[in-house]
Symmetry: C2
Subunit: 233 residues, 2 copies
Amino acid sequence: MSPTRDNSPASGAVVLLSGGLDSATALYHALRKGYRCTCLIIDYGQRHRREVQAAKRIARAAGCPSHVVRLRMPWRGSALTDRRMKVPTGRSLQKIGRGIPSTYVPARNTLFLSLALGLAEAGGAEAIFIGANAVDFSGYPDCRPNYYRLMQRVARLGTKAGVEGRRIRIITPLIRKTKAQIIRKGMRLGVPYELTWSCYLGGDHPCGLCDSCRLRAKGFQEAGQRDPSLDSC
Amino acid sequence: MSPTRDNSPASGAVVLLSGGLDSATALYHALRKGYRCTCLIIDYGQRHRREVQAAKRIARAAGCPSHVVRLRMPWRGSALTDRRMKVPTGRSLQKIGRGIPSTYVPARNTLFLSLALGLAEAGGAEAIFIGANAVDFSGYPDCRPNYYRLMQRVARLGTKAGVEGRRIRIITPLIRKTKAQIIRKGMRLGVPYELTWSCYLGGDHPCGLCDSCRLRAKGFQEAGQRDPSLDSC
């Protein structure tokens, strides 16, 4: 993928890769911008393994090195990590994004960004890419633009790199896009959406009913595209 | 330990416990303030095991439950986690705190606070205590007051609790105290300093030469106290 930024040699970036379509698009966006990307995949005890497997495959398809960090959070209280809790299904698209659902994981993106920040600082990377989105999203507080502005200040004040004037940018290229806009962008970039996994459940096939499946389906529909992951089911 | 705050029932707090004397003092301070404390101990691949062992013993001595989170950071570049790097020894007290030494661990306190924040939010705790200190310290950027003010804003903006108006306070009771003041306070609170471990190396006895040993020795000397950990060597 040819760089379009005037960086020579290529600047390093850490890309947080979840296995879903947003982070995969963020990765291909970063590559197109000319960054030398390292993927950071976090196995935080998700109720199913498909996310981490999907993230590894996407990193491989993109030809990028990846690190998998295994972390057992010492808390419960999210339907994504606690099998005793029910993942909400069948919510209408109007309801998704209003209020914070039980799939919220406490402090997740702060934790993920801190790991990305450490990796970026230690490896001399200039940027962190995260596929956060505040339009077609589940209503999580750590997906909003003001939160990322704040974390950018943390990167500057709380690291040796920042104090010494080496800036590590936190880049959220998708934050104000609809899911359809993200998918159209990804199609242009050649994102292998057939490798991505969005469903909050971990069955053999996407459930089609959880918030994440519904937002994905709406995105492909509005983008006028067929979801290639459905062909592989 | 009798509460002095007018909280009934006791408010919950997460206390980041490293095994050193500052965090032990922060724990006993929180207990004296009447908090029901849960200790969070992070095993992040320190070059020796003594820190984590010390933290566990201190939590037990204080009668508090503890969680140990095991985390392998996907980066190198700190003398505290990379055995190939040399821990600086023999630096003069005047030099300690000027510049950021090789014992700096990228993004460490941001990572620790994010784990504490998740645990506090999930468990309904109202406060996080961290024994950070910006006076007799090694010069780390993530030990300064402005960094903690920023992280307080992250706690508010980046969590469901914060968005819903439940505040989780990040409390740094020692941040502006000298090591001698911390030790005098700890002696009054009954902190079992004989259980704490400060040395950056992991020998049978503290080396006496690394920054952490020197700051500790200076603190006990200025406080006019004998370091009880020396008696157990």
